[in-house]
Symmetry: C2
Subunit: 265 residues, 2 copies
């Protein structure tokens, strides 16, 4: 645990009832916080947060609030899930407001259940505040819908990684013509996914948009294709957190392609 955290010891004769708010911080832009997330951050005594939470969001908390970064960073101490669970329980037992702040939406790729199960076992109540997930913010930035009538009536959100490494998916279903899906944590898995999708018959010219640092001032959008994806990730040296939107191209690229077609007619 960080040396800057000072946990009030729980007085055994006066058990305090704890509560943890598991709160989605959205993709990074503080204006994409929900009103509830904003209120809870302002009220929090303890904020236990992931590495990727934007400093501007952490700055919204009271000066007296303790911020504990449980994300792995550089050569810093890394927190295992059991350590995070134990920390949340101890903080909740102080009876003060605990906000567990997670990037994006805690219900999506947020390891929510590990923490809520531990809180349940310790008899601590909790509630979940949903957040804007990166796929929504990325497609808003592209100026395109994730779903569109007569194109796709479903959208899949997949992760590039799971506990075993690159995540296994139903590649044949994903490779279907006209399909749209979003890949979270997709940069390192890009070559692996590209291979599987091409092998299942996906067209190399299928558009893939890459949105790095979604909603932040450093946001970059690259219009790639399934065929050029890996080359372009390297070319643009994309290393920040990014989301891949398979089957979608940025609205500007689409408009440009349309006017080229018109010019060619």
């Amino acid at each position: 645990m960080s040396t800057q955290t000072h946990i009030t010891p729980l007085h055994p004769a006066r058990p305090l009832v704890g509560h943890v708010h598991l709160v989605g911080a959205g993709p990074g832009d503080p204006e994409l916080l929900t009103l509830r997330a904003h209120r809870l951050i302002c009220q929090a005594h303890w904020i236990v947060h992931d590495r990727l939470i934007a400093p501007e969001i952490l700055a919204l908390a009271a000066d007296s609030a303790e911020r504990i970064n449980v994300g792995k960073q550089g050569f810093g101490k890394s927190w295992g899930q059991p350590d995070i669970n134990a920390l949340l329980i101890r903080l909740a037992q102080t009876g003060r407001t605990v906000v567990r702040l997670k990037s994006g939406d805690p219900t999506l790729f947020g390891r929510l259940d590990e923490e809520t199960s531990a809180l349940d076992e310790a008899g601590i109540t909790w509630s979940v505040v949903p957040g804007i997930t990166a796929a929504s913010a990325a497609s808003a930035a592209l100026g395109q819908s994730l779903t569109r009538r007569q194109r796709n009536s479903s959208i899949q959100l997949v992760t590039g990684h799971d506990m075993q490494g690159f995540a296994a998916h139903d590649w044949r279903s994903l490779a279907r013509s006209g399909n749209v899906f979003a890949v979270y944590m997709g940069i390192r898995a890009a070559r692996f996914m590209q291979g599987h999708l091409l092998m299942q018959g996906a067209a190399a010219h299928t558009p893939v948009s890459i949105v790095e640092d979604v909603s932040r001032p450093t946001q970059r959008i690259i219009a790639a294709t399934l065929g050029t994806l890996v080359t372009q990730l390297t070319q643009y040296e994309m290393t920040g957190p990014a989301i891949l939107l398979y089957g979608l191209e940025p609205q500007q690229a689409r408009a440009a392609a349309r006017s080229c077609q018109q010019a060619a007619v």
Copy 2:
């Protein structure tokens, strides 16, 4: 068009540059608005909104703001998409702040592209503000993740309806054991989906949670299964907007089942 709308005529000698904010209102609870949505609603001169936008959210706008309901309601006049597009263009051309307020997240089942294409053709700029989608808020209400490590590394969001009626999906892929997906506008399509999923080998005891009026004071959560889904929808007379979460049961139901198993050991 409603008789209460008064559109300032555009002076042809002084063309005004218009802009439309396409804004997600989230599932209903005003506290689930983003800070940006809240700010734009407060600043708006015109709010063009769907039927399902909560009155508490519309009440946030200035007294002087004009609210135009373009949703179909009872025997009221219904707006076609071309009418809505034309309205947005005319309002934007007044040069005042136009907010197109959509339920949930405009990038998901929101018919966003129809409106942005029309605005593009009219030379009117626009931007998209993502919102909390119903699946996130529903799973937060269940106290369960949409994704969980070692259970599902992807989640599909599908619609029960498309332009042709009940939406066609890759039922075999959806029916896979351990799969989790959310169905928007799923109540009327429930029997149709139930049949397809059972036919593709999905187990009748697969949990399905139904969340009606997500995040509103009238919210109801029903723990059903694929087998009992249709019966329970009838039994509980669910007629409000609802989302089905296939493969997930409410956390309380899960905890109860666990303690039953422990008691039986």
